[in-house]
Symmetry: C2
Subunit: 126 residues, 2 copies
């Protein structure tokens, strides 16, 4: 698994689309990403080729039009970005980040229940 990998903003947007809809065409990705912004279709195609180069996505060109799929999972990306964030602004303390997110976000009752369960599990490491 790639160790330190930091997708750029545009790359993240595209990955977001591909996580939701694996096997999307360039056109579909373009429409999804630039629903409101107006960027040229070429830009999206170019970004796809750059990401292909970097190995962030895979292309299936046995079909027409070609389709794309992410090779990095959402989970891996989350992990990489969270640890980067923790390292850089939370002095390496993941729990500090947790506290922060908990108090500033608005978790629902269900969220709280889930987190409580997780906490309980963590308290009995065994």
């Amino acid at each position: 698994m790639r160790q330190n990998f930091e997708p750029t903003d545009v790359e993240l947007q595209i990955l977001g689309v591909l996580w939701r809809k694996p096997g999307a065409t360039a056109r579909a990705i373009h429409n999804a990403v630039h629903a409101q912004q107006d960027k040229n279709y070429s830009t999206t195609v170019k970004m796809l080729s750059v990401m292909l180069q970097k190995g962030l996505i895979r292309r299936d060109d046995t079909v027409r039009p070609q389709t794309f799929t992410a090779t990095v999972s959402r989970r891996t990306t989350q992990k990489s970005l969270v640890s980067k964030l923790v390292e850089r602004v939370f002095d390496g303390s993941a729990s500090s980040l947790v506290m922060h997110a908990l108090s500033s976000g608005k978790p629902t009752k269900e969220d709280i229940q889930e987190i409580r369960k997780l906490i309980e599990k963590l308290e009995q490491p065994k």
Copy 2:
């Protein structure tokens, strides 16, 4: 308070130093940031001037050598970066981030206790 503000990597490193030691000199910042890397002192000075321009830091030039202090708080920066992260890779769900950080990080017993307390407080909104 500045709404969307995203310090770059180098800027974050410098802010990190200033949060720990407000009123540091350019030399001190340089030494702290580039303890292992070898960058030119001019680079640090230039970055400071850029950050000054952007309003991320403040300069006291009544003293010699001049000293610098962050104008953005660590807390604000954390908030801004966390919400950016949540939005981009956690589909807007802060609790999803919490779960992720909790299970991948290694919280200490004390961390868990604190989080538990916070959770309990959240359960009794009132």
